[in-house]
Subunit: 292 residues, 2 copies
């Protein structure tokens, strides 16, 4: 019998691991992959044996990933994304089609900064399939990691996921937005607040910069949508911190002082073959961003 080389882990087993991590139960993971539960079980048992590391724990009749499984899961996701990319590349090259581009953008990117770029890109390159997803930064990053996107524009994260590269695009000033007729005050009397949701990246930027001047943020409402937040401010529910450009002009609110800036960045997966369409799009995004 041949010795199982730990270096030569079947791709399939890595898929199994990812599926198991992403599904509540192993059987559902198995059906999602179109294989029997048995195959999954055997495959994962083999993976565990190969690595010689305990990847799973019993929890009642469920099996859950151990902490040790984490690096392996990271590895699996990385390899999966890479494989996806080379597959896409091969299809593009072999069929001589332009392929398609899936872009993820923060709302502010899609609506305020780059709507024209996106529109023009679609009309200039009608042969390139194009799909835009607007979502919060963390979702975009997760999607980029999973190869759901080829390119995203998001807020620079404090820590980049592995094999993701970020290049700066532009900076945005976030200002304090007060309810109508509310004058400027010392920081200790600021708030209460109406902010982006907990976990949002801009939210943590804001919290950090509010804590600094000595205002413990007391948050009474949350939304990912800046227009909703602005609306709440105009109704007197609380104060907000928003990108200047995203405060609707017709609303009756008080624009206060800039409190923090956030960096919008372009993120891509590293180690993937270049897609010429993506290159062009990046160029155009940069051009507009530099122009601002």
């Amino acid at each position: 019998m041949k010795v199982a080389d730990p270096l030569d882990i079947p791709l399939r087993q890595l898929e199994y691991l990812v599926a198991v991590a992403d599904h509540p139960t192993w059987s559902s993971a198995a059906t999602s992959l179109g294989v029997s539960a048995s195959a999954l079980s055997q495959g994962l048992a083999d993976l565990e044996r190969r690595l010689g590391v305990q990847l799973f724990e019993r929890q009642g009749r469920r099996r859950v990933l151990t902490d040790l499984a984490d690096p392996v899961l990271q590895h699996a996701r990385t390899v999966q994304a890479l494989s996806h990319d080379i597959g896409q590349w091969a299809e593009r090259v072999s069929t001589l089609k332009m392929g398609s581009i899936r872009v993820g953008m923060l709302d502010v990117g899609a609506v305020i900064h780059f709507p024209e770029v996106l529109r023009l890109f679609r009309t200039d390159f009608p042969d390139i399939g194009f799909h835009l997803t607007v979502a919060p930064s963390s979702e975009l990053l997760a999607g980029l990691r999973r190869a759901d996107f080829d390119l995203i524009v998001c807020v620079r994260p404090s820590e980049l996921p592995p094999t993701i590269s970020a290049t700066p695009l532009l900076q945005e000033r976030l200002v304090i937005v007060r309810p109508p007729k509310v004058k400027s005050r010392p920081p200790s009397a600021w708030g209460p607040w109406v902010l982006f949701p907990k976990g949002s990246h801009t939210r943590s930027l804001i919290e950090r910069s509010l804590r600094e001047p000595g205002s413990l943020p007391h948050v009474v409402a949350e939304s990912h949508q800046p227009d909703v937040l602005a609306q709440m401010v105009s109704l007197g529910l609380g104060w907000a911190v928003l990108p200047v450009a995203q405060v609707p002009e017709h609303l009756d609110v008080e624009i206060g002082e800039p409190i923090v800036t956030r960096d919008l960045v372009i993120c891509q997966r590293e180690g993937a073959p270049k897609h010429p369409g993506v290159e062009v799009l990046i160029e155009r995004l940069r051009a507009v961003a530099d122009h601002d």
Copy 2:
């Protein structure tokens, strides 16, 4: 019959591709992998079929990689390096050993800046296997890519290879070194030169900064070894540009003005699980670098 999913490329076939790229002939690649030439041929034929991209061309009775094979080769190397890393990690974790660390360093790092760090690290962690390789930056980078190293200290490259990350460590000033008794002159009268070899990264930095003040570098001798270059200068063969610290003190040469600075960086593979020993070593390198 099952349809061949291009996304599920056997790792083995990627190994074949890399081996073929690294060996002059397919048969030697096959024997280096310990398989028959036939297996290799079939495997690569299958890979080509899966991707639907022409990867090989005939050249007489040889087969060589096409340009199209390049992205696939990149992919293969990346995946190989990742697999190696997860394998190492697994072995470390499963055996509870500290594993080993392979460090690559530029001569100036090993000899001038960090000899103490390296010595102390070895005595502080005798359980961690340790191996140091001193080589030029480009070799180090290639080795890092191939997973020959876990960590390197080199000159910041103008373009990073995919899935390699670089973090700044310190800056070095390179000065003009003139033969004994030769006074400072206008740039047009500089040289002739005794420099690092063509292709060296520091060489291109130097060339760029020499061209700027208007001195076309006429190069009469080359070496990777700074002490050799300095020696040649002292013999009156030509002028050199060297890190101040690498000009031997006892030599009779004229130290001229600083002409360019180079960044030394720490490079690692991205997407690899962390090795605690490597983290410690990095910390110590930074500490010393910041102290300078």
